[in-house]
């Protein structure tokens, strides 16, 4: 690799040619603040927070896009630099809705943090013309408040990276604002509700629709039996809401917190993930043996499902008809469990704690009410749960470790790894391979489908057959893979997760700054905690889950049965026509 010598803040360093000043400084452990910058996705040098002084240059340069050159002398921290950054912040604040006290992002707002760091003393030093675009709360999962938008364009980049691209920059000058085409509402364009725009927003401009009040009301309603389920990934991300390190597994504390919030039962979506595998593996085997539609494509990710309905309606037949684990959980709770416990399903209130904003859309879908009542009543994001815990003044870090309730809290390692890209595929293979070969697997680790690559492919020999599988996460990967399938490439089984890296990086997860997202492999760190948990589990194959066996014995009979179809499967709709695009 060609190297160049540069001097940063008086320290000599050799860095690869072509590095930006921002990257070069990181070799020395010097962090240059950024705001609009997202590595590889939004390198536009627009916000000017990262400006630095380069000896001989006429003006300050933006470190995020300025390449280093041999002999360059850089000062990242001179008075001129600090003054410029402070002025930039004051100018951003001049058009910003500074209602920080009531802002949901107070404490995690990147603008707020920079203002503190750079000593902005008067947030009203300048008063600019305000954007008159009204709040868009048309979508079921999120709210956009343009008065808090700083036009960093990170959401636009995230949306484009998802191959959705329904938001962009409209008009110019003081009128510049983020919006949809022709300024129609978000629910009139093919937004898939993935929430990647939200987790990439530095301020409170983009937020999930907060449903915590609905849950609090249910918890305070004595007629309601309130059941909570936690998605696989929540246990390795919730700790971040309480300043714990990325990748901390907080399963026990999470359960303890939920119990203290007053939920009648604390169950685990991992159980339903195991149930999903029973149905999906059976569906896969059935399609292979009986000439059904292949490749079968997983249906756990509601963002992906909505994307498929909008952009690939011709692939809807390929989707597994399995409901997602969240919905299967609700369905089995309000049917089998309700009957077993003698509770009327109308009195059961099921809350899902999800890594996902699209889950808010999913709970409202048609054909998701096995008991005659919605399978799930409210889906909260990890962030909303964090908020409920804080509001209840629970000292999360000091909580003891507690265990899930039975029986819907029983799970296997297979269910746990659903939270990472490749997890559903691996879990399904563990069960399908064992069923097809009719003997126990020697090795349950299907490592080829792990990792954060956008597309992973493998061929497994199962019962004499070459099973070609592909796994993708992020809708850009889904787009690429669907095009390949349409062009005739053969796969038997495809897993798609809507968010890059899978649920661990879902749109409902705790927000990390763009600096962290750019330079820490968030997806891998969170996923590693899930794979570690899987390895430690006594049972690692879904079909060995004793609670699953019980549900089939008492209620469902066998995977794919008539009852299973009624309770655990759903249908999809072609949404390609009813939107503006």
């Amino acid at each position: 690799m060609d190297m160049v010598k540069v001097k940063i803040n008086g320290i000599d360093v050799e860095v690869p040619k072509g590095s930006t000043i921002l990257e070069a400084a990181r070799y020395l452990g010097i962090e240059i603040p950024t705001l609009c910058y997202m590595k590889e996705i939004n390198e536009i040098g627009a916000c000017r927070i990262c400006v630095v002084e380069v000896k001989g240059a006429k003006s300050l340069v933006t470190a995020c896009v300025y390449p280093v050159a041999e002999g360059m002398e850089i000062n990242t921290n001179s008075k001129k630099v600090q003054d410029a950054r402070r002025m930039t912040l004051e100018l951003i604040l001049s058009t910003h809705n500074r209602s920080c006290l009531s802002c949901v992002r107070s404490g995690t707002c990147e603008l707020q943090r920079l203002c503190q760091e750079f000593g902005v003393e008067n947030e009203s030093r300048f008063d600019g013309e305000k954007c008159d675009v009204t709040t868009d709360d048309s979508a079921i999962h999120m709210v956009r408040d343009n008065t808090k938008c700083i036009l960093c364009r990170r959401c636009v980049a995230a949306c484009a990276e998802q191959k959705v691209a329904v938001i962009g920059v409209n008009d110019r000058g003081f009128d510049t604002h983020i919006g949809c085409t022709f300024d129609v509402a978000l629910n009139e364009v093919p937004c898939v509700s993935c929430g990647q725009c939200i987790v990439n927003c530095p301020t409170g401009a983009l937020t999930e629709k907060d449903d915590t009040d609905k849950v609090t009301a249910a918890l305070n309603d004595p007629s309601k039996h309130v059941i909570v389920q936690t998605a696989p990934s929540i246990r390795v991300t919730l700790g971040e809401c309480f300043d714990m390190p990325i990748g901390s597994n907080v399963t026990g504390k999470m359960v303890a917190a939920l119990r203290r919030l007053g939920f009648d039962k604390v169950f685990d979506t991992d159980f339903a993930a195991d149930l999903t595998i029973m149905e999906e593996a059976a569906e896969f085997i059935d399609r292979v043996k009986n000439g059904g539609k292949l490749p079968i494509i997983t249906s756990c990710s509601p963002g992906w499902i909505k994307y498929c309905e909008y952009y690939y309606p011709e692939m809807l037949e390929n989707l597994s008809s399995c409901k997602s684990p969240q919905q299967m959980f609700g369905a089995i709770t309000k049917t089998w469990y309700a009957k077993k416990m003698g509770i009327d399903p109308k009195d059961i209130f099921v809350v899902g704690i999800m890594p996902c904003t699209a889950k808010k859309f999913e709970v409202a879908r048609d054909d998701e009410s096995a008991s005659g009542y919605p399978d799930v009543d409210v889906a909260l994001t990890t962030r909303e749960l964090g908020r409920m815990i804080s509001r209840a003044h629970i000292n999360f870090k000091a909580l003891p470790d507690e265990a899930f309730d039975n029986p819907l809290g029983d799970s296997t390692g297979a269910g746990t790894i659903f939270g990472a890209t490749g997890g559903v595929m691996e879990a399904a293979l563990r069960t399908a391979a064992e069923w097809l070969e009719e003997k126990p697997l020697d090795n349950v680790d299907f490592k080829e489908v792990r990792g954060t690559d956008t597309i992973k492919e493998a061929v497994y020999k199962v019962a004499g057959m070459d099973v070609k599988v592909a796994v993708t996460s992020g809708l850009k990967g889904a787009h690429e893979l669907m095009e390949r399938v349409k062009n005739g490439e053969t796969f038997h089984f495809i897993e798609v997760m809507g968010c890059p890296g899978g649920c661990v990086n879902g749109g409902g997860q705790p927000i990390q700054s763009a600096t962290t997202r750019s330079f820490v492999d968030l997806k891998a760190k969170r996923a590693a905690a899930l794979y570690e948990a899987d390895a430690d589990m006594p049972l690692r194959k879904s079909h060995e889950n004793p609670a699953i066996k019980m549900v089939y014995e008492e209620f469902l009979d066998k995977p794919g049965s008539h009852t299973a179809h009624h309770v655990l499967h759903t249908s999809y709709v072609d949404r390609s026509k009813d939107v503006i695009r």
Partner: protein, 165 residues
């Protein structure tokens, strides 16, 4: 100022669509194809309504939001149709001090359309333009290629009547 959007129904013809498709085919795959295609689309349709932007987005494999973002950034792109007669009132410095704004107001009162709007019958559209170099005749307006100078708001109805006939 935010761009005005048309509220009139789209009335594109098959011929116009065929022309646009030819333009798109010529530019498909070119980096930076969007702006030239949008310019030609505006030549064909006179403006860039949602239906046209959608065709451009699909044709070039980009998003309609991206097309709209460009359309609202550059003043050369219009989101409202032109009438058979385009009334252009000069709001350059000389015309402005001689009362051009009163002409705009009078036209708005007479036709019920503001700047960048088109009458429902498609006859007139109104726009404000910058100096057309006829300051000696200020205040000036043009209707298509006809120039009218030294106007007062009292002249407006009479002039418009000629075109309504």
């Amino acid at each position: 100022m935010k761009k005005r959007k048309s509220t009139l129904p789209f009335a594109g013809t098959k011929e116009q669509e065929a022309q646009l498709m030819t333009v798109i085919d010529e530019h498909r795959g070119d980096p930076g194809a969007l702006m030239p295609v949008m310019q030609k689309a505006q030549d064909i349709y006179g403006y860039l309504p949602m239906e046209v932007q959608s065709m451009i987005a699909k044709g070039l494999g980009t998003s309609i939001e991206k097309v709209y973002g460009v359309a609202t950034f550059y003043s050369q792109f219009a989101l409202t149709p032109k009438g058979r007669y385009t009334i252009s009132v000069c709001l350059g410095t000389a015309c402005y001090v001689k009362g051009a704004q009163k002409l705009v107001d009078a036209i708005t009162k007479s036709l019920g359309i503001g700047p960048d709007e088109c009458t429902e019958d498609g006859l007139f559209s109104l726009e404000a333009c910058r100096c057309i170099g006829a300051c000696g005749l200020a205040p000036v307006m043009t209707i298509n290629d006809e120039v009218y100078g030294r106007l007062t708001e009292k002249d407006i109805d009479g002039i418009l009547a000629k075109y309504k006939a």
